[in-house]
């Protein structure tokens, strides 16, 4: 339970920013039957490097296996497990909910509790944007679900280490 959900872990993977690299990582996960809960990928401060954030579930043993297998890919520079305490983990959710005059204010109030932003309103729906950790998003979604979710989209978790050192400068293999 490293990122707030049971049996789920967040990995940050620094890869060469080349075509086909994401495919190699994903193909490895599918071939070895590792489960991906969410995945996000983008360029980093260094245009030669992309960063893939993957949330996986499985026991500790599987997570270690995943790290070791992913490290073997030639285009992978570094794999790092992002812990709850040691990292900031965020995901963006866009959600369209059923909302009429009677329910709209309730929904907005719930949203305020979670610092969600209203981004669109129609006579019958309200669309909100919320960012946060898995835990926060899970509890928000639980509270608004009864109003009726029309559509929901999530970007996938992304994460950054706390502290001053960038991931690309941490060495691995010396953790214990």
């Amino acid at each position: 339970m490293e990122n707030g959900r049971k049996d789920s872990f967040t990995l940050a993977i620094l890869v060469n920013n080349k075509s086909g690299v994401l495919m190699r990582v994903v193909a490895l996960f599918s071939r070895r039957r590792y489960n991906i809960d969410s995945l996000s990928v983008s360029e980093t401060e260094n245009p030669d490097i992309s960063r893939i954030t993957i949330v996986v579930h499985g026991d500790r043993n599987i997570t270690e296996q995943i790290i070791l297998q992913v490290e073997k890919l030639v285009d992978v520079r570094k794999v790092y497990e992002m812990t709850m305490d040691g990292s900031i983990q965020r995901e963006l959710v866009l959600i369209k909910l059923n909302a009429d005059e009677t329910t709209r204010t309730h929904i907005v109030e719930i949203g305020e509790l979670f610092k969600a932003k209203v981004v669109d309103v129609t006579p019958s729906t309200i669309t909100m944007q919320i960012t946060g950790s898995l835990e926060k998003l899970d509890s928000f979604l639980e509270l608004v679900r009864p109003y009726g979710i029309v559509e929901l989209v999530r970007t996938g978790m992304t994460a950054l280490e706390r502290g001053s050192r960038p991931l690309s400068e941490t060495t691995f293999g010396d953790e214990g």
């Binding site: 495919m23 190699r24 193909a27 490895l28 071939r31 270690e64 070791l68 073997k72 890919l73 030639v74």
Partner: protein, 562 residues
């Protein structure tokens, strides 16, 4: 100097020390073949009958020399025909570089004639692969590919070169070869020390030796280590030869068709030292009962092998030869396990593999082969019963001289591998021990053997059946021989003659030693059709899903004890 992409490929191959390549031409590699033609004095090209044969030949070249094997094919069907050989090499960690041509870049992705996405297809059976999109990158990609193939845990790398890249011109300059040092970057002193402590406190150590020892050329240091810590050793199929079959320490194979002695030692030892082995399901069978009582040290160059199939306690990451050398340094004094070694020797006498009523004829033939075969010969096998019998009974099994497809179990491997071994060792004897089913798969390579006059001896252990499958049908499917009888009359001697190869029969009444001696004395390619019964078995055996302690079909000379 500006040269074409095709010439850059050839120059890079020469730079990497490649003297021989195996392949088959086609539309999208004509420029490369033109460069090979112009450079035929520098690199020898062996034309096989089929690209699969080329891939296995490159594999056999690599297994027998330790160098990177190279195979070449055209796009589309040429490339897909390589895949079985690439997968075979991948599963057994064989360094190989496969070069394929492809349609010009402007036609890529348009379902052009003979276009396949070979990089996509081979994604999961290569260590890495490339599509060369720019001539500027070609040389550095080839150099990197060779480095990747050889470094760490070796494996195959594929380079797909579109035709227009072969035709384009670019500056080329030789660069010094990048040395591949034994991998020790993640070797930690404290793991070595922990291993030493466990070894010192062990009363009944056992070693499980795998193909990693062969790949690392670590057999000598391994045997020194076994003597130092006074331990018996069993091996996987891939590890055979690392410990001499004649050694009193050697208990035979472990696992499904292992020996009773090996399997008992695994489940009786107090310390299991796993050296360059990966706990294949063919070895461990029912994992939850494998060496449960023992503490386990695992030494491997690939840390992803730790805790994959079996959880192990001490993990030592690094080149096996280096690690064993370090252990020897830290264990300067000989350790003695007299009682344990005596009990191993007693068990070897009590459960002898040499008594084999279930495979009498095959064993006789293999024993005759042992008599006839020079010590420095190369033995390849196909896949099936004959392969297991060879592993169980042949004594002349030595590192890099016993070539068999372990991980993928590829029927048709042996003939190609024999070509690779013979081409790279023209003066040595090479024998392929085949089954009739397997030999049918790639017997077209007799054309290659004849073309290059390779004096390979192919012994077809002819049981008129897909014996290994038939054995399972006998034991677990109530003798329903679904599609495993090969009773179409086939005159093997005539088939050999058709290719201009010698053929001989080794009938049930013939003296195998006499026939084999004649075959080897010809010093020519020859197919020996060795008839054996259809219903012989590979025993002992662990039934699927059973513990390796529960073997069937072993011989016990002293059943009243225990």
């Amino acid at each position: 100097m500006k040269i074409t992409g095709a010439d850059i490929i050839v120059e890079c191959l020469v730079e990497q020390g490649v003297d021989t390549v195996f392949g088959y031409p086609g539309g999208q590699v004509i420029p490369l073949y033109d460069a090979l033609y112009r450079n035929r004095g520098r690199i020898r090209h062996i034309l096989t009958a089929h690209e699969q044969g080329a891939s296995h030949a490159a594999d056999g070249y690599s297994r027998s020399t330790g160098k990177v094997g190279v195979c070449i094919a055209t796009s589309g069907p040429g490339a897909t025909n390589l895949t079985t050989g690439i997968a075979t090499a991948y599963m057994d960690s064989i360094p190989m570089v496969a070069i394929t041509g492809n349609v010009p870049i402007s036609l890529l992705g348009k379902d052009s004639f003979q276009e396949v996405d070979i990089a996509g297809i081979t994604l999961s059976i290569t260590k890495h692969n490339y599509i060369v999109k720019r001539i500027e990158d070609l040389a550095s990609i080839i150099r990197e590919a060779f480095y990747i193939a050889r470094s760490g845990r070796p494996g195959p790398v594929l380079i797909d070169v579109p035709k227009n890249v072969q035709e384009a011109s670019y500056e080329f300059e030789n660069v010094p070869l990048k040395e591949v040092a034994p991998k020790v970057s993640r070797l930690r002193e404290k793991d070595i020390e922990a291993a030493v402590q466990l070894i010192k406190s062990s009363k009944k150590p056992m070693c499980y030796v795998g193909g990693g020892v062969i790949r690392a050329d670590a057999a000598d240091v391994l045997n020194e280590f076994l003597d130092r810590i006074d331990s018996p050793a069993g091996s996987s199929l891939m590890g055979l030869g690392a410990v001499p079959v004649s050694s009193e320490r050697f208990t035979g194979m472990i696992g499904m068709h292992g020996t009773r002695v090996s399997n008992m030692a695994i489940n009786n030892c107090d310390l299991l030292i796993v050296i360059g082995a990966r706990f294949s399901d063919r070895v461990i069978s029912k994992g939850s009962t494998f060496a449960r009582q023992a503490r386990i040290i695992q030494i491997d160059v690939d840390p992803a092998e730790f805790n994959k199939n079996i959880n192990t306690e001490i993990h030592v990451v690094g080149d096996v030869e280096v690690v064993l050398g370090r252990l020897l340094k830290l264990l300067p004094e000989k350790i003695s396990h007299g009682e344990w070694m005596t009990s191993i020797k007693e068990r070897k006498a009590r459960f002898p593999m040499q008594v084999a009523p279930h495979a009498k004829r095959a064993k006789e033939i293999l024993e005759a082969l042992d008599e006839v075969l020079p010590d420095d010969s190369y033995v390849t096998t196909e896949v099936g019963q004959h392969q297991m019998w060879t592993a169980q009974y042949l004594k002349k099994i030595r590192p890099r001289r016993f070539l068999t497809s372990g991980g993928l179990g590829t029927m048709g491997f042996g003939t190609g591998a024999a070509i690779g071994a013979q081409v790279s060792h023209p003066d040595a004897r090479v024998v392929n021990i085949a089954g009739d089913g397997s030999f049918r798969m790639n017997s077209n390579e007799l054309a290659t053997i004849a073309r290059y006059k390779l004096p390979i001896v192919i012994i077809v252990m002819n049981n008129h059946a897909l014996g290994m499958v038939r054995q399972w049908q006998d034991l677990f499917y109530e003798h329903r021989y679904s599609e495993t009888t090969l009773d179409t009359p086939l005159d093997w001697v005539m088939l050999a003659h058709a290719y201009g190869v010698e053929g001989m029969d080794l009938g049930p009444e013939d003296d195998p030693e006499e026939v084999l001696k004649r075959a080897f004395d010809l010093k020519k390619p020859v197919v020996v059709n060795a008839l054996i019964p259809s219903d012989d078995k590979v025993f002992p055996m662990v039934a699927p899903g059973a513990s390796i302690s529960d073997m069937i079909g072993f011989v016990d000379l002293n059943p009243l004890v225990d």
